[in-house]
Subunit: 151 residues, 2 copies
């Protein structure tokens, strides 16, 4: 059944915070028997408009996407030193699973739905072809929910 | 592509360690618009034969399974005080995503495959209708991989 708040019942992504993305991407690729994916860096602020806890941040991250699972994508994320949900997670918890991502339509409406149940945006930004919002769902759901909307 | 080591490329489960399963199961059910699932307790040692780090353990856990996502199951786990991977995770990291689970065939063979790449069993046991093994994959993969085999 489609969730009323999110409008979807499909998990599309598991996001993992790592310290050394080159090393972990290589380990992943070896383990899963696939090529090492391209490691990309998120763009600068003037393109991403990243906000963390309501404030603009210069935070960037290196990313690698593993698409070898049939039903879910794994994203590796190496944060930089600037304030972000990625950096906060690494400092508090160390490496590990940071978020579960879902694709939504009309992300602003979905954010409003979440606010109504007490879950606010912790970080948001733009990427080429879409937008994302990490939600402060940890208290209720014990994980960070990421909303993703591709245009 | 089917992974050579695991023989599967489908993630079936995300396991989340929680402190208060009644509370979190209720929050989950409300959020996702589904009924609160039955909360079950794992059986005693004489049925589960649970081993943690190679030693028998009396550890038990309360579990709740959410099957509202189309492509993946979410398992909530509340550990007891006895030594287990669940307890260790809660003590070290607090609540959060503990493991990613895959169904395998011939779990003993898959465990051997994993040992060959330096990943050993951290905890294993029986449940009604099947067996599981949590693998010490954290260093390589940054998450605990759970192998599940139903008979």
């Amino acid at each position: 059944m489609a969730n009323e708040i999110l409008g979807t019942d499909v998990v599309v992504q598991i996001g993992i915070i790592v310290k050394d993305i080159e090393k972990t991407a290589k380990e992943f690729a070896e383990f899963f028997g696939v090529d090492v994916p391209q490691i990309i860096e998120t763009e600068e602020y003037n393109k991403t408009h990243t906000e963390y806890k309501g404030q603009p941040t210069k935070a960037r991250a290196k990313l690698a996407f593993f698409k070898n699972f049939k039903n879910i994508e794994v994203e590796l994320i190496q944060p930089d030193e600037n304030p972000s949900t990625w950096r906060e997670f690494l400092d508090k918890h160390g490496e590990g699973i940071h978020h579960i991502g879902v694709f939504v339509k009309n992300i602003d409406q979905k954010i409003e739905n979440l606010k109504k149940v007490g879950i606010d945006v912790v970080q948001k930004g733009d990427y080429t072809g879409g937008r994302y919002a990490y939600m402060n769902s940890t208290e209720k759901l014990k994980f960070i929910l990421e909303l993703l909307e591709n245009y």
